[in-house]
């Protein structure tokens, strides 16, 4: 591993000040970052560890019933948090689906959102849009795990499970730097590759995810997260889905593993699911409508079938 220095931040201000330095990179559990450094994908001069910041790992309800998840909260602790299990079970299920038990206890929520895609061309240093190149080698190559919708010019998918649930729950992400704090809706947190293929999120140099907010209006009702993998544990999603019908009403669904970021299902489909009265035929038609603009690469057409199956299953679950 190429040398870097390590600093354990003592406060949010300390973290922000350190991250203003050249080639300073924020670190949570390090479970993706240290691998990415080893692969040469990230080359920091200094890592700023956010786990020591007092309160950065807190998970707490506010007076209005919204949830605030500190950026350094461990994925495992969110998965097992009583309020999350009770009010936002889709998020608990998505967190429990991350990696392995050990990775969940090491990894932070902020780090999970900021992990880099696992496209093997990118991670093995093959020239591509993510590392400064001007072509996507996967288009004519091994693209079986890549995007079927919303891709191009880069077709890598984002590996986060919680991000898919947070999209369906219409969460917000709080981003902090030496210049202050801004809050963005999760739908604006992920950057489409057509806009900036070299990065996945709006988190820029000097910034870090300081918290995630989940609104009270997304709580309760029926919530599901399903993840299809090549094996039953410790794998990234081939396709996943978060589907919620919160107690306050409405239906929201998001797919993982199919697009460069979490893919929110078209609102007209969500509204038709919410209006109810669905039978098998209308469920199938809605699933097809949700995927109408999917365009498979040469080896990943199976993902469209998987996404359709998950959509149909989720719609039946939300109907009951």
């Amino acid at each position: 591993m190429s040398p870097f220095t390590y600093h354990r931040a003592t406060s949010t201000d300390d973290a922000a000040a350190r991250l203003a330095g050249a080639r300073a990179v924020p670190m949570g559990g390090g479970t993706d970052l240290l691998v990415a450094i080893d692969e040469g994908v990230v080359a920091p001069a200094q890592l700023v560890d956010l786990r020591g910041v007092p309160g950065a790992d807190a998970v707490a309800l506010d007076a209005r019933g919204a949830l605030r998840i500190g950026g350094a909260a461990r994925v495992h602790d969110v998965a097992r948090h009583p309020a999350v299990l009770e009010r936002w079970p889709a998020l608990a299920q998505a967190c429990e689906a991350v990696g392995s038990p050990t990775l969940r206890q090491m990894g932070t929520m902020g780090g999970n959102l900021c992990q880099r895609p696992r496209c093997w061309y990118f991670r093995r240093g093959v020239s591509c849009f993510k590392n400064g190149g001007d072509e996507c080698p996967a288009v004519d190559g091994e693209n079986q795990y890549l995007a079927v919708i919303g891709g191009g010019p880069c077709h890598a998918v984002h590996p986060s499970d919680p991000a898919v649930a947070l999209t369906a729950l219409e969460a917000t992400v709080e981003i902090t730097s030496a210049g202050g704090t801004r809050t963005v809706p999760i739908a604006a947190f992920f950057v489409p590759p057509a806009e900036a293929p070299e990065r996945e999120t709006v988190v820029g140099p000097g910034e870090f995810v300081s918290a995630i907010g989940v609104p009270a209006v997304s709580a309760g009702g029926v919530q599901r997260y399903h993840k299809l993998m090549q094996r039953e544990a410790w794998d990234f999603a081939l396709v996943s889905i978060a589907a919620v019908r919160p107690a306050a009403g409405g239906v929201r669904m998001a797919l993982g593993g199919v697009a460069p970021g979490p893919w929110r299902v078209n609102s007209s489909v969500e509204e038709d699911v919410a209006s109810g009265g669905l039978d098998d035929d209308s469920i199938s038609a809605l699933a097809e409508r949700a995927l109408y603009d999917a365009q498979p690469l040469s080896k990943n057409g199976y993902k469209i079938e998987m996404a359709g199956a998950l959509l149909r299953q989720a719609m039946r679950e939300l109907a009951t």
Partner: protein, 156 residues
């Protein structure tokens, strides 16, 4: 910096990029912790940090200042094996043994958090440790047996 491993403090000069497993094996001679993949995909290097499981290959040693690191060497001694070590022997829960220290440390973390796990909970809780010899059925039986041994010891 001061690194505390198995209750023993060590004062060491550690560079920011050095991994915990490199320090354990290369500087402290604690070679019970193994490295296979070196990228968090196998679990062979599992240790406990403040009682929680961690892959030592993806842990910076510098981040462990002030923490209590536990390795397989601290779990039991040759003349007084831990219940997990006894159960792994009794159930022949290994072939080559290379993954075993990591398996046992992951099991120790699981049983600390879930003292009476179901078989499903053992399978879920041990799913971050690969065994390329495929001893999984015996590993599951050994962990369940160790839970009973520990329960009996607590009751005694």
């Amino acid at each position: 910096m001061r690194l505390t491993v198995n209750g023993q403090p060590y004062d060491l000069a550690i560079a920011g990029h050095e991994s915990l497993v490199a320090i354990l094996r290369g500087r402290l001679g604690l070679t019970g912790t193994k490295v296979a993949c070196g990228r968090g995909e196998c679990g062979a290097c599992t240790v406990l940090i403040d009682g929680k499981p961690a892959y030592a290959c993806l842990t910076l040693a510098a981040a462990c200042e002030g923490a209590a690191v536990s390795t397989i060497e601290g779990l039991g001694a040759a003349e007084r094996l831990h219940a997990l070590q006894q159960a792994f022997i009794a159930h022949d829960a290994l072939q080559c043994g290379f993954c075993t220290p990591g398996q046992i440390m992951a099991a120790a973390a699981l049983l600390a958090q879930t003292p009476r796990p179901t078989e499903a909970e053992v399978r879920h809780g041990m799913s971050g440790n690969l065994c390329r010899c495929g001893a999984y059925p015996k590993i599951v039986r050994a962990v369940l047996d160790a839970a009973q041994r520990l329960e009996a010891a607590r009751g005694a």
